[in-house]
């Protein structure tokens, strides 16, 4: 089974975001970058599929040289091959999807795994755009995946429940927390990853359809009111919620 995983390189979720000098993106100075948490789940699922069905796992990231760091981590987790679609330009979700789809078309995997959402831009869109570009069926926000022969059963999260999606390979999956528990790279994996090559490819140039005009921090909350420190404060809290905030 040929398994592809699309992996993004994003600021650590603990980052305190500051706006950069262009006023349109974050200030990257001093920011620690990680594999986007859902993409880590996608990588783990790819490795498990390989362990079960044999084959190879190819990790793909689109971005600048810094993304090599994330691809190295994926290699250390155990993927067989890493491809950097090397590009420093500003892209919207459509342009990222186009570049990924064009490369994926060339390698035609049996299954393509994405995170359900990249925790920087939060589009939750690229996996499904790629599916549409390649004419493949998909299941999104997947917490359970089973493949028998070419039949795929995926369980996706919806409001207040789950839905079971059935389709055939080749297909696209976007991974949600709960699908698996990503492994830590072994020391051996880390050592081996150092020597594995990262293939570099020029991606399809961007043709953006969305332009970021400005980025700012959300308005700071006014300092709240500490109503008290024990049960005596409860009636006052309820009064405030009922009369002042009018939310109950």
């Amino acid at each position: 089974m040929k398994i592809a995983v699309c992996i993004n390189h994003v600021p650590d979720t603990a980052t305190k975001v500051n706006i950069g000098p262009d006023g349109k993106s974050i200030d990257k100075a001093g920011v620690n970058f990680i594999i986007s948490p859902y993409d880590e789940i996608a990588i783990e699922e790819g490795l498990r599929l390989k362990e079960k069905h044999t084959g190879e796992v190819i990790g793909i990231s689109l971005g600048g040289d810094a993304h090599k760091e994330t691809l190295r981590k994926a290699l250390a987790m155990g993927i067989d091959k890493a491809v950097l679609l090397k590009d420093d330009s500003v892209r919207d979700s459509f342009s990222v999807a186009r570049a990924l789809a064009d490369y994926l078309k060339e390698i035609s995997p049996d299954i393509i795994l994405f995170g359900k959402q990249s925790v920087d831009s939060d589009h939750a869109a690229i996996g499904l755009m790629v599916a549409e570009m390649l004419g493949l069926p998909s299941a999104s926000v997947v917490v359970k995946l089973e493949i028998a022969e070419s039949n795929v059963t995926a369980e996706g999260e919806i409001e207040g429940g789950h839905e079971r999606v059935e389709m055939k390979l080749p297909c696209v999956i976007t991974a949600q927390k709960g699908l698996n528990e990503p492994r830590y790279p072994s020391l051996k994996g880390i050592m081996q990853a150092k020597n594995k090559p990262i293939e570099e490819r020029p991606p399809t140039p961007p043709q953006n359809k969305v332009e970021v005009l400005s980025m700012k921090k959300p308005p700071a909350k006014g300092t709240g009111k500490i109503v008290g420190s024990d049960v005596c404060a409860v009636p006052e809290l309820v009064r405030l919620l009922h009369e002042e905030a009018k939310v109950i």
Binding site: D122, S140, E163, K217, I226, A233, I248
Partner: protein, 323 residues
């Protein structure tokens, strides 16, 4: 000009986020001199008339027994055909599970830019400017879609639907030819947790954290939630510990929520948690550590022991509601 809203119905009822999308589209339409058309896809579609009360002038219904359950491939085909037929330049969907799944496919089919999960829309010199949170709400961007066809998905609970005006829309039934190949992926079964309110849809959320010490103590959180008709949420610490299911997790790697009231009980307020809930309209923190970061985003707080305060709060709420 036409604005097409892809409304969502499950089991014959239209969900609130669809009304919010229609209402927000109507606000755009009034400024752009456009019409709002709502599209409903399914089997046995009812309650169509309601959409008129929120601003749709026409409702297009595509019915077919094969559309009883969602199919990403078939629904996107239908929506794109209707969008083309109606020359819709603007397409709006609620950013629900279904809307988030459908919109990216639609964007590709219509060669349209997608503004996902918007929290505000405004018009400046005839151009729609959308606000969308990034980095789980740690920053907000203003964006513009530059392609001729533009797609917006709107975060539930942020735009207000208000009350129906009672106006009715013209309902048209349209056939779309479908073949087996349109059903590349199909939903075969839906399991709903009965009686459970999802955090992503809830108007009030009561969340518990590690300070509750064990899963058994979530009983008091559930009781408070029940008194408030609220959903139960959780921090990642308690989800990772297996005390609560992960569909209740609020935060950067859980759900992003914007209820009118969020009550955080024994949650410290780590950045990843704050990222998912700080856009709530009102926040109440109950934490015995008055230095806990959760108080920095709270409107009201009680710096005390949750084990005393929560049961008392439940009683007081019941008293208020006359239960």
């Amino acid at each position: 000009m036409n604005i097409l809203v892809i409304a969502e119905q499950r089991d014959g009822t239209i969900k609130k986020p669809s009304f919010e999308s229609v209402k927000a589209s109507k606000a755009l339409a009034d400024q752009l001199n456009a019409n709002v058309i709502a599209l409903l896809i399914g089997e046995n579609v009812q309650s169509t008339a309601n959409l008129g009360g929120y601003g749709a002038s026409r409702v297009i219904v595509v019915e077919n027994p094969r559309l009883a359950k969602y199919s990403s491939t078939a629904f996107s085909k239908i929506a794109s055909e209707i969008a083309k037929k109606e020359n819709a330049e603007i397409i709006v969907l609620p950013a629900t599970a279904l809307g988030k799944d459908l919109a990216p496919r639609l964007a590709v089919k219509l060669d349209a830019g997608l503004a996902a999960d918007c929290t505000a829309l405004r018009i400046e010199n005839g151009t729609i400017i959308a606000t969308r949170p990034v980095y789980a709400g740690k920053a907000l961007t203003d964006i513009r879609v530059t392609s001729p066809i533009k797609i917006f998905t709107l975060r539930p609970n942020v735009f207000t639907a208000g009350e129906s005006s009672g106006a009715s829309a013209k309902v048209e039934h349209i056939e779309v030819a479908l073949t087996d190949s349109d059903f590349g992926s199909i939903v075969t079964e839906i399991t709903q947790s009965v009686g459970k309110i999802d955090v992503a849809e809830a108007d009030i959320i009561v969340s518990g954290g590690r300070g509750l010490k064990g899963p058994e103590n979530f009983k008091m959180i559930e009781e408070l939630a029940e008194a408030l008709n609220a959903a139960v949420g959780a921090s990642r610490a308690v989800v990772d510990a297996g005390w609560r299911p992960h569909d209740e997790q609020v935060g950067q790697t859980g759900k992003t929520v914007s209820p009118s009231l969020y009550i955080a009980v024994a949650i410290s307020g780590a950045v990843q948690h704050l990222a998912g809930m700080s856009s709530s309209k009102y926040i109440v923190a109950i934490n015995k550590d008055k230095e806990a970061p959760i108080f920095s985003v709270a409107d009201y707080g009680i710096a005390g022991d949750a084990f005393d305060i929560v049961p008392a709060l439940t009683q007081e709420v019941k008293k208020l509601k006359g239960k």
